[in-house]
Symmetry: C2
C-alpha cells in the first residue's frame, strides 16, 4: 500500500497543476470541520489546456487496440486499489458516509472498470457490419459497404456529490467514455476534492503505465458556472456526462445546445421513483413491506437517485398496516450525516415544504439529529386528489423523505402514474392475484421509466449488461441511454461507413480476415470469426 | 392497377380531412403551370387531432408482434405499388424529375420498407439482454435483470423536397419509425402534395388492411412555421425526423430543445461532400475522374444531399487535366429542371455569389437553360489560401455547382479538411502509391463525416445494413445516427430494464423460452435460443 499525500492539485495531462482562481477546502460533514489541504480551483486557461490535450490525444487513443484499451481500464482499477486505505479514509471524511459503504463503492467502481474492460474486448459495441459488393446486380452493381462505430470525441464528465467514487472521477461515465475510445476531462465535485485527487492521480498513473498520450485524462476543480460552462463550450468536447440537480443539468443542456456545434448531454437529474403497492401484496405482507421500504428509504441518508420518494396504495386497512409498519420502522431509524451542509439544508427545506403543504401530513419520522448536517427520515401522506392538484408534490426531495398516497382504487394509482414526469425507476409489489392489475399498469410504466422492479426496492443499482439507469426527461436529459451498465458505452459512439475500401485501409474491425474475432452483421446475418 | 383520384386532402387517422387554413396548388416546375387540385393546409387543431390519435395508438402499436409489424411494412410497399402509374406521373409532374428516376425511387422506397420488415423480424434491434439472478452471490445476491428496447413514442416526420418518395411520406424516417413501433405523423412537403396524398392513402389503406389502430399514421399539409412547429411542440411527439435546409432544421432543433420535455431531432441538413483527388490517382486517370465527377455533380440537377460540392487536388498538370476534362464534360451537360422555383432561385443566387467572390473563378459551366426553373451546372476554382480565408465558401449551394481547390500539397488538402464542418460524405480517389497519404487523411475524415468512399462518387446511397447517411453537425443534427439503412431503427428506440419479473409479466423478447428466437446477450454471451 502506497501512502499518497493529497496536495490540492488538479491534473492536466501528465502535469499536476495548482489552480489559481479560487481556494477551497473540503468539509467533514460529520463534524463541520474544514479539512487540509487547501485546493486551488482552475480557470478558463486550464480548461483550454486540458481540452486541447484531450483533442491531441483523441486520434491515437481511439485507435488503441481492444486489448490495450481494456488493459488501461484494468490498470486504472489496480491503481485505485493501490491507493489503499488512504482513499477510504479520505472519502469517509469528506462525505460522512460509513466505511462499509465507501469500501463497497470502491469495489463497485473497480468492478465497473473491469466489466468495461471485458466489454471492450468482446467488441460487440463496434456493431461491425459488412454488406459485400454485388458487381453483377441489376440495374446497378452494389458497392462494398462496411460500418463500424467509433468514439465521439473528448468527453466532459461532471463528478456527482453522492457517489464520491462510482459516479465521480473514475466512475461510470469516465469508464464508459474511456472504453468507447474518448479522452476524458473531469470536473471533480468540490465536496470531495481529496478523494478526487487520489483517484485522479491513480488514473494519471495508469495513463503513464500504459504509455498512452497524456491528454487521455485531465481533472479540474472549480466553480460549475465558470469551469463547467467553459468545459461544455470548448469545441474539442463532443459529449457531456453529468449527475446532479435538475437546475444544473438543464443549464448544461442549454449551454450544449447553444454551441456552434451542439453536442449530446447525458445528464442524470431528478427522480422520485414511485412504488406501487398492489392489493394482494398488501394483504399478504404489508408489515414486511413497510419495514423493507423504510430500510430502502433511509439507506445512505436517502441520498440516491433511486430513492423511493413516492408510494401509492389503495386506501384501506392493508395500506394503513403498511403505513403503521413504516412509521414503526422509522421510529428506530437514526438520523444520518448528509453529504454536505448545502444538501442537508436543501433536505430540511424540502421537508419543511412538505410539512407546510395543505392536505399533506407527516405520518412519522426517524430519530432526531445528534450532530451537524444530519438528515432525519420522514414519511408524509396525502390523498390522490391533493396530489393531482399540486405539481410541487412530484418534485424530488433529495434525502430520506417519502410521500404516501391513499388512492381510491388501482385505476387511480394508474391515473396518478400517468401524471408523473419521466423517472429512473418504478417498483411494483404484487402477488399472483395482482397479475391482471400489473398488466394494466406496465405499459404506462414502460413509457415513463427506465427500470421496473417487481417485489424489490429501487436503491441498489447492479452494474451489469442489462441494467438501465436512465429514463425519460427529466429523470435524465436523454432517455435513449443509461449511465450504469455496459450499454452506457453506446453514449459515446457514432457510426462511420466505409465504401469500396481496399483491405489495407480498412480498420481491423472490418477487414475480411476479422482479426479481432468480432461478431459482425455479414450481409444481414450475425456471424463470428 | 387502381386509378386513385387526388382530392387535395390530408389524412388524420382513418379520416380524409380537408385543411381549411390555407389553399395551395402544386406547380409543374418544367412548365411553371399550376396543377389541379387545390390542396387545403391544416391548422393547430388538425395537429392536435393527429397527435392525440398517434398517442392513443402507441401502446397497442408498439406491442404488435414482430410478424404483424413486418407484414404492415410490406403491405405499405404493396399498396404503394398498387397506386401504379398515377403515382409516377404525378411525381414527375410535381418535381420535374424524369420518369426513370421516379421509378427507381419508387423501387428504392418499397425496397426500403421491405428491408425494414426483414429487420423487424430478425429483432436484433431489440438488443435483448438477460443477466440471470445469482441468489448465492456474496456479499449481496444479484437480482434477475433483463433489458429490451422499446419504441420512443409518436414521431413527427417532415417530408423532403428532393426525394418525393424515398425521403417523404413513406420514406426512410417513416419506415424506420414504424419499424421501431412508433406511430408517425407526417408533415408532407408542399412541393409534391399530390404525390404525398397518393402515398398517404396507400399507408392509410395498409393500416386498415392490417387492422391496426387508425392513429398509427396521419399526414398533414401546411406551412412549416405553423403546422411544423405545432407538431414538434405537441407533447405526444417524442422524436422528429427531418431532411431539408439548415435554417429549417436548426429551427426545429431549437423548438424541440425548448419544450417542457426536450426531444431528439434527427435533422439532415447541409453537406458539401469533399472529394480528395490524390496525386497517383490523378496521374493515372485525371480525365476519367473529370468525366465521372461531372456526371455525379449534375445527376438529378445536383439536388442531392451527397452532391460533391468541393474537390481538392495538388496544383499541377494532373489536377489541371482533371479540371479540363470536367470543363469539357460540363460543356455537354444540359441544364436540368429543378424541383421548385424557390430551389432554382436559391441555386442561381448561390452561383452568383460564388461568381462574385474574390479569387474564385468560374472554370466551366453546363449548357444554357432552355426552360423555366432550370439549373445550369457550374464548376468554380480557387486556391487554398482564399478558401481558408472565406468561411462562406464552405456553405452548401444546393444544386450542380462545385468548387475546386488548387492545393500546394497533400498536407494542405488535409489542413483544409480539418477546417470543414461535419459532412455526410467524403470521397478519396487513390492508387496504391497514395496509400500512405490516405492513411494520413483518414483519421481526419472519420472525425468529420459519416461515410467515406474510395474511388467512387458520393451520390447514390445504397439502402442496406451498413449504410451511414449521417454525420457530425451541421450535416445532421445528431451524428450518432443515420437516416438511410437499417441502423436508422435505433433512432426511435430506448432501453427499458425489467428486474425480478415473473415470466408471465415479461415481454416475449425477454422470456426464458425466447419464443421470438432472438439473438440475446445472455450473461454476457450472444446466444440465439
Amino acid at each position: 500500500m502506497t501512502q499518497t499525500p493529497i496536495s490540492g492539485t488538479m491534473f492536466i495531462g501528465s502535469a499536476a497543476v495548482r489552480g489559481t482562481s479560487t481556494e477551497f477546502r473540503a468539509i467533514n460533514p460529520a463534524t463541520g470541520a474544514e479539512l487540509d489541504p487547501v485546493f486551488g480551483g482552475g480557470d478558463a486557461a486550464d480548461v483550454k489546456r486540458a481540452c486541447d490535450l484531450a483533442w491531441a490525444a483523441f486520434d491515437s487513443y481511439r485507435e488503441t487496440s481492444l486489448e490495450a484499451r481494456a488493459a488501461f481500464l484494468e490498470t486504472i482499477a489496480a491503481e485505485i486499489m493501490l491507493v489503499g486505505d488512504a482513499l477510504i479514509e479520505r472519502a469517509c471524511a469528506e462525505t460522512g458516509l460509513p466505511r462499509g459503504r465507501i469500501e463497497g463503492e470502491r469495489g463497485r467502481t473497480v468492478g465497473q472498470l473491469r466489466l468495461f474492460a471485458q466489454t471492450v474486448r468482446a467488441g460487440n459495441w463496434i456493431d461491425a457490419r459488412i454488406d459485400p459488393a454485388q458487381p453483377d446486380r441489376k440495374p446497378m452493381p452494389r458497392s462494398d459497404i462496411r460500418q463500424r462505430h467509433i468514439a465521439l470525441g473528448p468527453v466532459a464528465v461532471f463528478g456527482a456529490s453522492n457517489f464520491p467514487l462510482a459516479f465521480s472521477v473514475a466512475g461510470g461515465d469516465t469508464a464508459a467514455a474511456l472504453a468507447a475510445g474518448c479522452p476524458v476531462v473531469v470536473k471533480a465535485h468540490s465536496a470531495h476534492p481529496g478523494t478526487a485527487e487520489l483517484v485522479g492521480r491513480a488514473v494519471q498513473n495508469a495513463v503513464q503505465r500504459c504509455d498512452l498520450h497524456e491528454g487521455v485524462f485531465s481533472m479540474l476543480f472549480g466553480a460549475g458556472a465558470q469551469i463547467g460552462t467553459a468545459l461544455v463550450e470548448h469545441p474539442a468536447i463532443k459529449a457531456v456526462g453529468f449527475t446532479g440537480s435538475r437546475a444544473a443539468g438543464t443549464a448544461l443542456m442549454r449551454a450544449a445546445a447553444a454551441r456552434p456545434e451542439p453536442i449530446p448531454v447525458y445528464a442524470e437529474m431528478s427522480s422520485i421513483n414511485p412504488v406501487f403497492l398492489m392489493p394482494c401484496a398488501l394483504a399478504a405482507r404489508a408489515a414486511q413491506i413497510g419495514r423493507d421500504f423504510v430500510a430502502s428509504l433511509a439507506m445512505g441518508a436517502g441520498q440516491f437517485c433511486t430513492n423511493p420518494g413516492l408510494v401509492l396504495g389503495v386506501a384501506g386497512p392493508d395500506f394503513e398496516a403498511f403505513l403503521a409498519s413504516a412509521v414503526q420502522a422509522l421510529d428506530g431509524t437514526g438520523a444520518a450525516t448528509m453529504l454536505t451542509p448545502g444538501i442537508n439544508k436543501a433536505y430540511r427545506s424540502g421537508v419543511a415544504r412538505l410539512s407546510a403543504t395543505a392536505n399533506v401530513s407527516k405520518l412519522g419520522e426517524g430519530l432526531a439529529e445528534t450532530g451537524p448536517n444530519q438528515g432525519r427520515a420522514a414519511l408524509f401522506v396525502t390523498d390522490a386528489t391533493s396530489f393531482s392538484g399540486d405539481h410541487s408534490l412530484t418534485e424530488e426531495v433529495f434525502g430520506a423523505a417519502s410521500l404516501a398516497i391513499r388512492c381510491a382504487d388501482v385505476a387511480t394509482m394508474k391515473a396518478l402514474g400517468e401524471r408523473l414526469e419521466g423517472q429512473l425507476t418504478a417498483t411494483i409489489h404484487m402477488e399472483p392475484g395482482d397479475l391482471a392489475s400489473c398488466r394494466d399498469l406496465l405499459p404506462m410504466l414502460e413509457r415513463r421509466v427506465g427500470r421496473i422492479l417487481i417485489n424489490g426496492y429501487p436503491t441498489g443499482v447492479e452494474v451489469c449488461q442489462a441494467m438501465v439507469h436512465g429514463g425519460p426527461y427529466p429523470s435524465t436529459a436523454d432517455g435513449r441511454s443509461t449511465s450504469v451498465g455496459t450499454l452506457a458505452i453506446t453514449r459515446f459512439l457514432r457510426p462511420v461507413c466505409y465504401q469500396d475500401f481496399p483491405q489495407e485501409l480498412l480498420p481491423d474491425a472490418l477487414k475480411d480476415a476479422n482479426p479481432q474475432k468480432l461478431w459482425r452483421l455479414q450481409d444481414g446475418d450475425l456471424v463470428k470469426g
